[in-house]
Symmetry: C2
Subunit: 202 residues, 2 copies
Amino acid sequence: MKEKKLTRSELKRAAIVEAASVEFQNKGFSLASMDDIAKRADVSKRTVYNHFPSKEALFSAIMLEMMEMLCAFESLPFRADESLASQLTQLVQHEIQLLSAKGFIDTARVIIAEAIHKPELIQDAMSEFSKQESPLANWFNQAIAAGALKAKDSEILVVQFTAVIKAYCFWPQLIQGEPLPSQAKLDEITQTVVEMIIKQYT
Amino acid sequence: MKEKKLTRSELKRAAIVEAASVEFQNKGFSLASMDDIAKRADVSKRTVYNHFPSKEALFSAIMLEMMEMLCAFESLPFRADESLASQLTQLVQHEIQLLSAKGFIDTARVIIAEAIHKPELIQDAMSEFSKQESPLANWFNQAIAAGALKAKDSEILVVQFTAVIKAYCFWPQLIQGEPLPSQAKLDEITQTVVEMIIKQYT
DNA sequence: TGTAAACTACACTAACTAGTTTACATCTGG
DNA sequence: CCAGATGTAAACTAGTTAGTGTAGTTTACA
């Protein structure tokens, strides 16, 4: 354990990881080249291969690093003493915040771009990714159990809830590179989603 | 105009188009190779170049062919003499039918795979693609104008309506290659969407 | 100042790419 | 049955790729 600063080697490694994630994001796994990654990292190609034995290994390392970045999904518990509207509003905002977190969309883009052409290679990444939704399922399950929402199970509720949010704050950004909607639009979306759940399930 | 059967040339051309669309679907534009396309079509590479001057031209020709296949969106008019529930049910079924049409998902996959890495090259294809939704907007606009639905405008309604359907019948199929839900599940989805619109907007 | 680890540039292999050329074969209409 | 259109294989250009090997240089540190 060297508490010093950062060894030269660590600096180089970080530069490689940074450059590689840009290249993979721009071009996808197959079209990104090790030469370009080395060039962008301002490092010799040999150094890249000293840190990572192959392109595959570099890609996996980056995927892992990206996935870890996203493990910050705290579960909001259902509270009987707070209004549904208020709690749902918080849930929507929480979800939007997650989707707009720096790196989330970029990570999702890399994963999905690869998934389109070889679904099997990233099953685990996809399942990790969809864990994002489990705290939501928890909240809805608790709300149903408490009788605050009337539904057989939470599955369709969670899908319905996230589908509308993603239609505005995920898919267009992922595929067309659109910016997030304005705050006014976000407020409108939030209100619509909250209203949708309350009117349909109480 | 030869009304005969199909000239040899036409047969070869069809084989090339068929093979190329498989290759483009599997690997995307850049990774699909003309050699592999020729091999799959059981045709010499020179013949491919006799029919299409370049890889780009072959790709465009296929895109065009695919897009034309999708121009079957008839507009259902709003009818004051029929129940909302019945009409909405028809709309959902119409939408699901469109999404499950042979080729729709495959076409969307090719377009979106390219869009992820170079959004500008296929703006027109994307806009063509989203025209799919305009008859829906028409119906909702008419329903609002007739006072059958209470909303400022149809925009958020259309998004909400399609978002839930796509969450079940488009995105999972496009990205993870999942099959369409069972008929029972489709019925449940239909019912949920119809209920959602009626409870929130009447 | 010496040493070892890490980095460097650069050349190289073997494979793949889009697209062209050549010389030959085969099908089709009249 | 033959002329002309069309298709064929295979070699070729010129470029890119992942990955390796080498010989020399920089850095950290004692």
